[in-house]
Amino acid sequence: MKGRGLYNFAFFDEGSKREIRRAILKAIAIPGYQVPFASREMPIARGWGTGGLQITLSIIGRGDVLKVIDQGSDESVNAVSIKRLVACTTGVETTEETARASIVQSRHRIPEERLRPGQVLVLQVPIPEPLRFVEPSEYATKRLHAEKEYSGAYLALFEEIIRYGRVSTGADHPVMVNGRYVMAPSPIPRFDNPKLDMPEALILLGAGREKKIYAVPPYTRVASLDFEDHPFAVETLEGRRCRICGSEGVYMDEIVDESARSRSWQCNDTAWCAARARASRAPGGNASGGCV
């Protein structure tokens, strides 16, 4: 490939990789704690997944298999660009199958297929600070974390209940990690929050613009913040069925057909959907075999 030879393996110099790995190790050692790191200039703009990309480039080895998704899709421009950059500078194999990947970099979703031990999920984070909405000062939020003073996070949820009658976090619903740190899970839908609890895979979160790395190590307790009389609840998916593969109970995109004045639903996770669709087309076939 063209990029190989021009750049060091995985784009970064070895010193950069080591520095980022050190931050990752610290993040794993203190679940949910935002570790500051020297975020690098990347060949993509900040805010386009540089945090996740830097983690991926630092941990990837020649034997890894990479999958990159953007809002559930393997084929979005951003996912394809990131995947191509990593592939060009490492030569690793890429895949769209969640089960085959050893590293899954994702923006705004956790794959439907349950991640296994040994896999690493890398999430791209725009705003890592869960208290930012109530406290604009970084100096102040660091202190609030140190003192485990999280009334601000609850206050934000309380305000939503007062205004709208229910918690209305569309994404990025704050979670308590290991009973200690409140963490922004990146803008995943509430539907994905339960997948953070006691995960079998390692979950790493990177914010390139905000220069923070944090982690949920395997088998860590992660609880979504809620109130006694307003328990945490995921988005309701009742009555939604994928128009392509017929799946139910997974996160769906709403597809509006304006000319037909109708709407339908479709799996947000494209790899999941494609595998289900293939399985239903070829009865007895392997649901997770081959590329789309």
Binding site: S151, F158, I162
Partner: protein, 281 residues
């Protein structure tokens, strides 16, 4: 420490300086300072070895000109500002045996949320202006560990109606309220966790007379009903006369006169107090 029954709070030797200090003002301050600052290094001695006692259910007034250190006392007590030296004891915190300035920041937060309530002169300091009035009141309850929305909402609504905020507007943000309403929301917020001590910093300054009267009525009523001890800072002698049982007169970071409010206002002893009382309209 507090060893006297009926005492709610005691401050001992509270000092706060702004500036580095120098050889001249480190020595004999009496002769070296010009009013409350050092003419050589410019260090301001905002509070100078101030001691006071606040008794249960009492309203203690603090008067003095602008810059005399009145608000600095409240800022130190509410941990908005660290004192340079001195100690303070609250009877409801560990029996008044522990200096509240020497405890950890978590403990200080707990004292702030449960044992003290403060009403700031400027409501933008005491309220989250873009959050609803109900949420503002719930904030202190959340910080004190409450996690029940309907209980907190009910308490907020009852407090807000107590301070005469129309039910229709309770879910609105205080940034859309008038100054008097904002001040009343602040009072409701301060009361939400039933603190035994309330710190009031120029609560009626800047409000028009009829609204002032309403706020004063409210404070009087709260004091009568709940028996809360209050430290009331004001430069308005009318407010002090109406609310305070005892009054301290401050000048240049020190108390120059103290006594029953009537006594201080009718028969002031210190030249500054005399000047203050005589300049009353």
């Amino acid at each position: 420490m507090i060893d006297e029954a009926g005492m709610a709070m005691r401050i001992e030797g509270l000092s706060r300086t702004f500036g580095p200090g120098c050889a001249r003002c480190a020595g004999d301050r009496e002769s070296s300072l010009e009013r409350n600052y050092c003419p050589d290094c410019g260090t301001v001695y905002a509070l100078r070895d101030l001691s006071l006692e606040l008794y249960d259910g009492e309203v203690l007034g603090v008067v003095g000109e602008s810059g005399s250190g009145k608000s600095t006392i409240l800022n130190c007590l509410y941990f908005d500002l660290a004192p340079t030296s001195g100690s303070a004891f609250i009877s409801s915190y560990r029996g008044g045996e522990r200096d509240i300035f020497s405890v950890s920041s978590q403990e200080r937060r707990a004292i702030r949320n449960r044992l003290l309530g403060k009403v700031y002169q400027n409501p933008t300091q005491g309220l989250r202006m873009s959050f609803s009035a109900v949420s503002n009141i719930a904030e202190r309850m959340i910080a004190s560990g409450s996690r029940n929305v309907s209980a907190m909402e009910a308490r907020a609504v009852s407090l807000l109606s107590h301070v005469n905020i129309a039910p229709l507007r309770m879910r609105e943000a205080p940034e859309r309220f008038s100054g008097g309403m904002q001040q009343r929301v602040q009072i409701a917020k301060a009361l939400s966790t039933n603190p035994p001590i309330l710190l009031l910093d120029e609560v009626t300054t800047g409000l028009d007379l009829s609204v002032q009267a309403k706020v004063l009525d409210l404070i009087k009523e709260i004091q009568r009903e709940l028996g809360i001890s209050m430290l009331l800072v004001s430069h308005d002698l009318g407010v002090i006369r109406m609310l305070a049982d005892r009054t301290l007169v401050m000048l240049d970071g020190r108390i120059v006169e103290s006594g029953l409010t009537d006594q201080v206002l009718e028969d002031p002893q210190h030249p500054y107090s005399q000047e203050l009382v005589h300049s009353m309209l």
